[in-house]
Symmetry: C2
């Protein structure tokens, strides 16, 4: 009987409510499909920061290092600036464990309302593959002439061959597993004329290794427009840290799934644990009320099981989510229902 | 009788077809409202580049310098790389004439189809104010270890106090002229942690000068999502060069107006001429066929007249566009009609 060690970090706000439901469904899947989950709980959060001055202990990464996966809720709370909360927990894990792929499915699920007119589930079903460690999210730069009229700030985007090639390779490999076999690259080489032409160059070079894959590329401005106008054009969309960030919020928005979208921060070589978290944040406005939607967390759990090799269990969870949405099962307020967070979790656990 | 000196640059592709229609309508407005347009035509384009090795002559900017405004079609043609075509004509004019505001209206016009479900003209009516000279579009950076595995590229974003403050001021001044008096700032200070916090700082400082203006700010990822989900939230949206670029394509996309949207590159102090151009590009696929939509160009002409102080004439053109769209006047193919470019131009000139 297989056992997976899962590090569980609910984090802040509604993360504390969605993670238990995620675990409930994971537990049901483990029982049904015959594997064990060995959970290690970490209460790292903005509260920890208030008490200890740190989001996680100094040896935080070491404590997580032996896990098979990390299951994260949400990070961030009013009063704690992002550069402390996110850069003290979320970003160090992504970088420390070289989770260089951020993978986000954008799917219009049957029964979900999209803001787009006349679009159905067959029109929106693609992945955004985001570079997750370098690019525009850099720590090089600074401020000069502070406090004067001459003041200015700089920040350097950094793209390495290694960093670019490996995420592109992941995108092409993913496309090879899908019927359409298409990769779209997000660029802006007409405006950002030093780094983005390099991205284009590496994209063209990588494409030569995958003659079976169709490719195209768009500048990020018009690509965002196409997400709205032609979501059916896309299969696998690959972008830099910033462009991938933008597209992986816009994609779920057009699919009507921003409240339920999952994401995976993956170290494909499995030298380090990968991390699974919903796209939504800690939602301070509704936290603590038991009304938040746990589907993003539960779907992230399905991605985690798939990554661990439990494909049948992952499919069962995804199938349960699809059925619940399509057949009008319990829905939380954000989806027009009245159900509590636990109602949705229980319904999905049962269905699995 | 007032005379305005207009430099006319049709540029490439459909620019050669839209600009004549733009001039036709401007001419009608001039006759009706009693002013003169003194046109100077420049054939600078990718063709010029092929013949002379330059997109415009070395003293190009000097030739334009005394104009009251520049009326531009579109720049770019297959076979000529963007860093030559755009960076040899469009970008040098924006920068050389310190056109630090790129202003783009996003309006759902009556009679126009939006890709969004259930949205009407009252839901989408805002401006994107884009910084147009610095930020992410910088020329600082480079490549190292070229051709090896260690290869990397960098590009520095540069935000100056002067550059940030002046575009923010423009956005607040614009909001003061509008009934809702609201400014939304596009940021990403949770990820781009050196430059974007500075942007936020200056935004907060500027807001203190305008107590009558309501403000909010969103990270660019969720802001793009909100454009799709809640376009009615926005009045004036201000962003950096890159974020403004993205939002000013996404905004017209949600308004269904990407084929007809205008833009103004403005030097508010009027030390230099401002430039008016449609948002769309040179559209090589339909160029030369006489079927492209001239409305973006004509609407840009209206923005030009407003900038020149001919508000009544500008309103007349805009009114003519609104009436044509609402009342099913001649439409080009992109809007589901059969009309030729000239039909639309003539109809609008007549209506003015
Ligand atoms: C062509 C390109 C350089 C330009 C830009 O990004 O500024 C265009 O997208 C625009 O918005 O005018
Ligand atoms: C919170 C923020 C730093 C983060 C990011 O930009 O990476 C978030 O938007 C995300 O997409 O996970």
């Amino acid at each position: 009987r297989k056992t997976y060690r899962i590090a569980v970090i609910p984090g802040d706000g509604i993360g504390k409510e969605t993670v238990p439901e995620g675990l409930r469904v994971l537990d049901a899947a483990a029982r049904r499909f015959g594997f064990d989950l060995q959970l290690a709980h970490y209460d790292w959060s903005c509260e920890t920061y208030r008490q200890t001055g740190r989001m996680m202990p100094e040896d935080g990464l070491d404590r997580l290092r032996d896990s098979d996966s990390i299951f994260l809720g949400a990070v961030g709370w009013p009063g704690v600036p992002d550069h402390i909360s996110l850069w003290g927990l979320l970003i160090p894990i992504r970088r420390g464990f070289d989770q260089y792929v951020n993978l986000r499915p954008c799917r219009l699920m049957p029964g979900v309302r999209t803001p787009l007119a006349g679009r159905g589930p067959e029109d929106i079903d693609f992945y955004v593959v985001r570079e997750n460690t370098e690019g525009e999210y850099s720590s090089v730069g600074g401020r000069m002439f502070e406090g004067t009229e001459r003041e200015f700030v700089t920040q350097e985007s950094v793209f390495t061959r290694q960093g670019v090639d490996r995420v592109l390779r992941y995108a092409f490999e993913l496309a090879m597993t899908r019927p359409r076999r298409k990769v779209t690259s997000a660029t802006k080489s007409n405006g950002i004329t030093l780094t983005m032409p390099y991205w284009d160059e590496r994209f063209a070079a990588m494409a030569r290794n995958y003659p079976e894959v169709t490719t195209d590329q768009y500048h990020i401005d018009i690509l965002c427009a196409h997400f709205v106008q032609h979501p059916d054009w896309f299969d696998v969309v690959v972008g830099s840290n910033l462009f991938g960030d933008i597209l992986s919020d816009l994609g779920p928005a057009v699919a009507g799934s921003i409240g339920i979208a999952p994401s995976a921060n993956i170290n494909p070589e499995r030298r380090f644990p990968s991390m699974f978290e919903p796209v939504h944040g800690s939602a301070p406005d509704i936290a603590g009320k038991g009304i938040c939607n746990p589907i993003g967390q539960i779907w992230s759990g399905a991605m985690m099981l798939e990554h661990l090799g439990e494909k049948a269990a992952a499919d069962a969870i995804l199938g349960a989510i699809e059925a619940l949405l399509a057949q009008g099962g319990p829905r939380t307020r954000d989806m027009g229902g009245q159900a509590a967070t636990v109602d949705v979790g229980k319904a999905l656990a049962e269905a699995v």
